[in-house]
Subunit: 430 residues, 2 copies
């Protein structure tokens, strides 16, 4: 096997190790088996939502068995998991629908039954927010959607959006924790959010909310939307701001005293697993960052610069070296080609790597789906542009990374993985 | 002194150490004093060009004294340096002019007088290419400029531009080395080029040229410019392509046997000096890359992600940590504000750092001038956005980084430094 081929195989093995650490079933099993307190509770309720909630619920049943007293989870249409004691309800995603409202109401009902001697296990993964709409009357689901749409059109940030949405919901922003009290609550969280912020993942039903009705109103005012949102939304927020409606629970609130939120899988846990595997394969390793964001082509070029530095000066690591990072970059679409953020990351890197020997850049999404393609990502090295016999800069301009790498068989293809802890980037040199 | 204040002072001390290593005077003196062979030559000629050529020539005189037999350098208007034996000729920059042609002719004349027992010291720094126009007759300076303009308008790369320009010059692309043979040639190079490519810095008068007349013609054809460039340019390249004109000297050519090119200052040497200083100040250090390019805001965010990782997980280094990188990023202007690539780097980082304690991002240009401002760069930390009381995202949209940092006195101001080895970026955490 050539050195280049071996390094590619190593990259794929490292990616597989990262995927395994993010496997929802594995993550929930490990987290529950590590606990000593499960036998202590009279009844265990299992609730949750997310794209991986079915798999997580099944894993919870495997560990908890008959100790599951009741449960209900909101999943996407077509979730293949089959549970025994826990109800599975298919709900609208990415656009919330009435089934989502019904499912969330069921979750709230169950949690409100739980008493001081009971445990509520709350399973969360990517997509949970859309799967758990529960507008506070008289605000309707349609009102909430109209408000979200207006905010998105103005370029509001995710924090701004959440400040508004949490104050129109009976579930989000820590309100599930309030409903479940006085039961013990254990949140098992598979994070698809940069930085693993508990108040952002699934809009934080079991996490304290720092935003207030005032925050929500000032967001509307910042974008001059107070007069444009549905009247029921405006009235609700204005009533809240003058204190006529209870706030979402804040940091330090007593309802969180019996709540424990555990990140069972995240980009960071996957990077750790990747690092262990890379060490095992003989590489000097370094985890650079787990919250990488920004335009993918520029982040890709930055990674290529690190590869070049390793290869030419032995810094920051001497070869064999593996620098690991993760997060979720973005693509500003300009062309009409086919690709995804990870494939474009590799394409931009390929241009800067051209001619460099014994170095490689790998980028792939842990969900196995990069943009509207059947690939998870791609691999680039110093020979990529020569082998492709296509103008790489032009392919990049056209956002045509998929066809570029398909032509030279350098796509990374895994199929859907059933998880999502964002992306893995590797800089490798031998 | 608060920890934050101390870290800022440390960042500035590290930057000063980086600047000192790139000081043209210091760099040339050190390089010449390290040589044992200077007494061996009958005569020493000192020639050169660049924005720092005056300072470099003065330093050469200090070391070489009366051994300087003759010399001539092309400098910018207003170069404050004063030499004794070496002629200084002010030439057009950034637009080449007839004074540049005269000065370059003088350099060529001197070099052609040098014999086997003589040494030609060739001093190069940023701007040398524009300062040494020497079109090969009948091509005129105006012809060359028209050709460059056409290529730039089509988006030609620097490598493509150079392939054409070297084949219209009697000086660039290794041709000075040919003129100077059989003398010994010592190129002392202050690099302002990412990756320190000898054939790119000053268009490589003493470096082998891998491009050919064929390359030059195919560049014209790639942009359908063969019929549009001045007739004399087209004819010259076509004659060269069929072998009627001598090629530029290629790698392995005998003219380079007695040529030695030494990078006396570069981004990399400055990063090394920065690292030494950071260690001295008690930081764990890492040089990440010296060839960082790409859109500055995305590269800045990537550095912020590293700061966050250090602060939250102690990776890739445990605090006190200083991660060092360098290169030259770019700004895609969209707004109408005032700023530069380093200030915008810090502004984009500030948004992602918000709320993070004990971490800092520093970015500044070693020439002391960032964009059309009097600042070299800026410093951002977790309190920047709170202190600024201005919408950072909006300032970024407007490319208004200068006013943003000026308002909170976080600009880095050095005045012109007399050197340019691109930019220094620091990620620091305590």
């Amino acid at each position: 096997m050539t050195a280049a081929k071996r390094m590619r195989n190593d990259a794929l093995a490292i990616f597989r190790a990262a995927l395994k650490a993010a496997d929802p079933s594995h993550a929930v099993e490990q987290a529950l088996r590590a606990r000593k307190d499960l036998a202590r509770y009279e009844r265990v309720f299992v609730v949750g939502a997310g794209k991986a909630a079915g798999t997580m619920a099944r894993a919870a049943e495997r560990v908890l068995g008959r100790r599951v007293f009741a449960g209900s989870i909101n999943v996407k249409d077509g979730d293949p998991a089959r549970t025994r004691r826990i109800e599975m309800r298919a709900c609208g995603h990415p656009t919330p629908d009435a089934r989502g409202v019904d499912g969330t109401r069921r979750i709230v009902e169950l949690c409100s039954q739980a008493g001081e001697r009971d445990l509520v296990v709350f399973l969360v993964s990517g997509g949970a927010s859309a799967l758990t709409p529960f507008p506070t009357p008289p605000v309707t689901l349609r009102d909430k959607q109209a408000t979200t749409k207006l905010l998105l059109a103005c370029g509001a940030s995710i924090d701004e959006l959440n400040a508004v949405r949490k104050h129109l919901s009976m579930f989000k922003g820590g309100q599930l924790a309030r409903v479940a009290a006085p039961a013990r609550v254990l949140g098992l969280i598979l994070s698809d959010v940069v930085g693993d912020k508990l108040d952002v993942i699934g809009s934080g039903p079991t996490a304290p909310d720092s935003s207030t009705f005032d925050t929500a109103l000032s967001v509307l005012d910042r974008y001059a939307l107070r007069g444009q949102v549905p009247k029921r939304v405006r009235e609700r927020l204005e009533q809240g701001a003058v204190g006529s409606i209870a706030e979402t629970p804040k940091p330090g609130d007593a309802v969180f005293e019996r709540v424990e939120n555990v990140i069972v899988g995240s980009n960071r846990t996957s990077l750790d697993a990747a690092e262990r595997k890379a060490k095992e394969l003989g590489y000097r390793t370094m985890i650079l960052a787990s919250t990488v964001e920004g335009e993918t082509r520029d982040v890709g070029r930055m990674h290529a610069a690190i590869a070049r530095e390793i290869a030419t000066s032995g810094r920051p690591l001497r070869p064999p070296a593996c620098v690991i990072s993760g997060g979720e970059t973005t693509v500003t679409l300009k062309g009409r080609g086919k690709g995804g953020r990870n494939q474009e990351f590799a394409l931009a890197a390929a241009i800067d790597l051209a001619g460099l020997e014994n170095a490689l850049i790998f980028s792939a999404g842990t969900d196995g789906t990069d943009g509207p393609t059947d690939a998870a990502g791609a691999i680039a090295d110093g020979e990529t542009t020569a082998r492709a016999k296509r103008d790489a800069a032009k392919a990049l301009d056209e956002n045509d990374s998929y066809e570029y790498f398909r032509g030279i068989e350098d796509l990374v293809i895994t199929g859907p993985t059933g998880t999502n802890v964002m992306d893995l980037h590797l800089v490798m040199a031998r």
